[in-house]
């Protein structure tokens, strides 16, 4: 129907994915759990630029960004191992400030209200 909620008859024949609702397959990466936590995500972070863009999307306001960059890293050491070390490693490898990587990793709890 062409008025909200735009319901339609049950789709069929959509697979294999194609057409306007399909924007691409997802790329595979390997994370080696035998590596120290801080090194596990380094290879995957060739996507540094998109991670940087995401940080801007989460905290577009400059003042808010200051708080995130200055105060949020204090929370990192309270997070359970190995997640705290992995977040630290992602920040170091990507160059994205620690507070912004940390915010990205706890966005679920932040946005559930």
């Amino acid at each position: 129907q062409f008025v909200p909620p735009y319901t339609e008859e049950c789709r069929s024949g959509m697979y294999p994915p194609k057409g306007p609702t399909f924007k691409g397959a997802v790329t595979w990466y390997t994370v080696n759990l035998d590596l120290p936590p801080a090194k596990r995500w380094t290879d995957l972070l060739g996507m540094i630029q998109v991670v940087r863009d995401l940080a801007n999307a989460f905290v577009p306001s400059g003042k808010l960004l200051d708080i995130v960059d200055r105060d949020l890293p204090l929370l990192l050491d309270t997070l359970p191992f190995p997640f705290n070390e992995e977040i630290r490693g992602i920040s170091a490898a990507s160059g994205v400030p620690l507070g912004e990587v940390l915010l990205f990793n706890i966005f679920y709890e932040v946005f559930t209200a």
Binding site: P5, V51, L54
Partner: protein, 248 residues
Amino acid sequence: CTSVVAEDSNGHLFHARNLDFGLFMGWDVRNKSWLMTEKLRPLVVNVDFQRNNKTVFKSTSFAGYVGMLTGIHPHAFTLTMNERFSLDGGYIGIMEWILGKRDGMWMSFLTRSVLENATSYEEAKQKLSQTKLLAPAYFILGGNQTGQGCVITRSRFCCSLHCFESRWSLTTNYDHWKEPLFLDDRRTPAMKCMNQTTRANISPKTLYDVLSTKPVLNKLTTYTTLMDVSEGRLESYIRDCPDPCMPW
């Protein structure tokens, strides 16, 4: 989000989900899309977590995100997490954490921990239903044997389990004991399409059809994942929802 766990007539279990995220976090008027959803799409990655060169679990995640929202522990169980809104939500959990009360678990870290360490459906179910959380959530869990499927609706402290029992599929994005909000009812169309598909025809292919039907597919849909536990297979596709399409 919408998650479906289903078993076919032979007791073969499948699990699929649409990840919808970015509601009210900026609307791009020109492109008629959510800003956050657009930012997340290029970050979607499939990750094969290995130890001693062997797969421990596989997941669809976001680059830079160490927790998990979707994953498979091959030949054991599949797991997806859906967002559950509540006034007693993550803010209170985070405040308690900051004030030093740290007996709860961060949702995505629990999901990752279960995918990494649990070795059976029952063990995963126990951990997901009994661990204290910082925020409410839905966990949708599928096993590797007939009858193993549950939606675990979590508050921060406890849980409600909605399992297969006499059913062959479970669909969720809302508390199962409530009518969905009339403004946001993706559950009814998804269940209608599941019933129309019939148990005999359930497969990753037909689940993709269900999750491609509007409004189950909507402008918040970032990716669709299809999982087959006995094959240990996970595949994901980045999605878009051209107009006319619901914003949520």
